[in-house]
């Protein structure tokens, strides 16, 4: 599948999710979701040749994700996957089978995140879990990186 075809697939699924959530939620400001979707599509089109387009797409995608999550956590999660797919596709990191496998791994890794958020009543506990997990991963990586550099950078 070519890059542009993947973009259409992700955008189509994202649009379907947004339309579905909007119709299912029945909010009085239903048009907001559609405006955010159009905004995301417009920015996606506008920044297609920019260098750091991942950042702009993320900036445009986050309000849309939040809007979807307000309706339903799981629909919001699907929108996260679609936006992530579009961003990865735009950055050219969804070209080979390894990249697709990693993308699926990312989708799987976000499910526990959504589950933690779903079962929690307040922000503090899940926030602590995320921060602690990130800190541990970064600390382990820092130690490994130091050892790695020592091995290859040491003078005989």
């Amino acid at each position: 599948m070519k890059q542009i075809q993947r973009d259409y697939v992700f955008l189509a699924v994202l649009a379907a999710v947004v339309f579905g959530v909007t119709a299912w939620g029945g909010l009085p400001i239903w048009y907001l979701n559609l405006i955010l979707l159009c905004l995301f599509g417009g920015i996606f089109y506008a920044v297609r040749s920019w260098h750091d387009r991942a950042f702009y797409l993320a900036c445009a995608g986050v309000p849309l994700i939040i809007a979807c999550c307000v309706m339903s956590t799981w629909m919001g999660l699907v929108s996260v996957w679609m936006v992530a797919g579009i961003v990865c596709n735009a950055m050219g990191i969804l070209e080979i089978s390894d990249d697709i496998r990693i993308f699926i791994l990312f989708c799987g890794a976000t499910v526990p995140v959504a589950l933690v958020v779903q079962v929690s009543n307040h922000v503090v506990l899940p926030l602590l879990i995320f921060v602690a997990g990130t800190a541990v991963i970064l600390a382990v990586q820092a130690v490994r990186d130091h050892q790695f550099r020592k091995q290859y950078g040491a003078h005989p």
């Binding site: 993320a58 919001g76 996260v80 890794a109 091995q151």
Partner: protein, 437 residues
């Protein structure tokens, strides 16, 4: 972390802050998924970065392993590396600050390719500080759209080989200074010259006036200038007279006698004496040691400067070192194998040379020249010859001069220089070979 990843981190921080302040789980979900994605990209980048580093192999070769300071030499480095797709790398040679790159590239971009690819650096360097120097490895810069890393690969498999840089080089003046009675030599002497023959570290007791302050400030270590020495030794003049039994150019002989007379006169006027060795082929005709009287010297030249009868002749005579070199060459040919006929011939010739070598003695001429050089305080000599006939004795003269650490300057007729010199091995090891005016 690149600009894109920095922007995403900022979004995460804003979302987390908002989620904490507003106690909003939706914002936390958005922040958590973004954090998950960014962290995953970081771990993936680290994994690929390590795989790139472990795939690197370096083969580096220097044109020479030992050079003089200021000499330019070529360096060739082959780097084999595997860079996975979506990653970009750049390799830079980490050179010692003791060298200056003259030309060529020391940085190469590496394109992503799932198979190992070999890249080659070719450049030339000039060492500017003497001592032992080692190319300290390579620097590898890797980046993808989110992250970038740089690592200095300086362990044993990436660094080397050693380069020994001898003193003397760019600080040395191109021409040696000479005054009326003395000239500079690259040796330590009591009387020092003006040129700098080397720079070295300061040792206790060195003259503080010789400190090179500029170099010392640069390296935060005291460096001393070693100056050239001054000598006032006259050169030994060797005249190779032609054989009476063979034709020779009369005009060249007359010109040679004129030049020798002029040089002897200059030597006596500048250095107060001259030493003159008259030979003809491998026969020593006459030797004047430290003659101070100009009139006497001229009368001697008038007496001897004509063709003489040679008692001993040499015709392409090899000495022991040359025979040994021939044997080594033949042994190499035999080891390499090939045509059986050539191998048989080489083996026969080797056996012949070996049997000759056992009974070989140094010619009498070689011993006489060695004794002459050892009895004189000289550091250079001028050999005047017409270049007629065999030049084996000249080769032996040059060899003995090298052994005695005496510079040998050969002066030949211009016609010989232009016609015979390029293919004649006998003259090639002399310090200078020029035509006498």
């Amino acid at each position: 972390m690149r600009r894109c990843a920095q922007g995403l981190s900022l979004i995460i921080i804003l979302l987390v802050s908002g989620a904490y302040i507003l106690d909003d789980m939706v914002l936390l979900l958005a922040a958590g998924t973004l954090l998950c994605g960014l962290l995953g990209q970081y771990l993936l980048f680290e994994y690929r970065f390590r795989s790139i580093v472990t795939s690197v192999t370096v083969q580096r070769s220097l044109e020479r392993s030992q050079v003089r300071k200021g000499t330019t030499l070529r360096v060739s480095t082959k780097v084999t590396v595997t860079v996975p797709p979506s990653m970009h790398a750049r390799i830079t040679e980490r050179l010692s600050p003791q060298v200056v790159v003259q030309d060529g590239d020391t940085t190469l971009p590496v394109e992503p390719d799932p198979n190992p690819r070999t890249y080659q650096f070719r450049y030339r360097i000039t060492p500017v500080v003497h001592g032992k120097m080692r190319v300290s490895g390579i620097s590898l810069f890797v980046q993808n759209v989110f992250f970038s890393h740089e690592i200095d690969l300086s362990s044993h498999q990436f660094s080397g080989p050693d380069l020994i840089v001898q003193p003397v080089g760019i600080f040395e003046p191109s021409g040696k200074r000479t005054t009326a009675e003395s000239r500079e030599v690259e040796k330590l002497k009591v009387v020092r010259g003006f040129g700098i023959r080397a720079l070295r570290e300061y040792y206790a007791g060195d003259d503080l006036r010789h400190i090179d302050w500029k170099l010392s400030a640069k390296h935060n270590k005291l460096y001393i200038r070693e100056y050239t020495g001054m000598v006032n030794l006259p050169p030994l003049i060797i005249v190779d007279l032609p054989w009476r039994g063979a034709p020779f150019p009369q005009a060249d002989l007359a010109r040679m006698v004129s030049v020798v007379a002029g040089m002897a006169e200059h030597s006596i006027r500048s250095y107060q004496f001259v030493s003159l060795l008259v030979i003809s082929g491998s026969n020593i005709i006459h030797f004047y040691r430290e003659e101070k009287n100009l009139q006497q010297c001229m009368s001697v030249l008038r007496e001897w400067m004509h063709p003489v009868e040679r008692v001993a002749h040499q015709y392409h005579t090899l000495d022991r070192a040359e025979v040994r070199a021939e044997i080594r060459h033949l042994e190499t040919v035999i080891l390499q194998g090939g045509n059986p006929g050539i191998l048989h011939f080489s083996d026969t010739l080797r056996k012949h040379y070996s049997s000759v070598l056992v009974h070989m003695r140094a010619p009498a001429f070689t011993g006489q020249v060695a004794r002459t050089f050892s009895s004189l305080a000289i550091d250079e000599c001028y050999l005047f010859s017409l270049g007629c006939g065999d030049a084996s004795h000249i080769h032996q003269l040059i060899r003995q001069a090298k052994i005695a650490d005496v510079m040998m300057h050969i002066r030949l007729p211009g016609a010989i220089i232009s016609s015979r010199l390029p293919e004649d091995q006998n003259y090639q090891s002399a310090n200078t070979v020029e035509a006498f005016a």
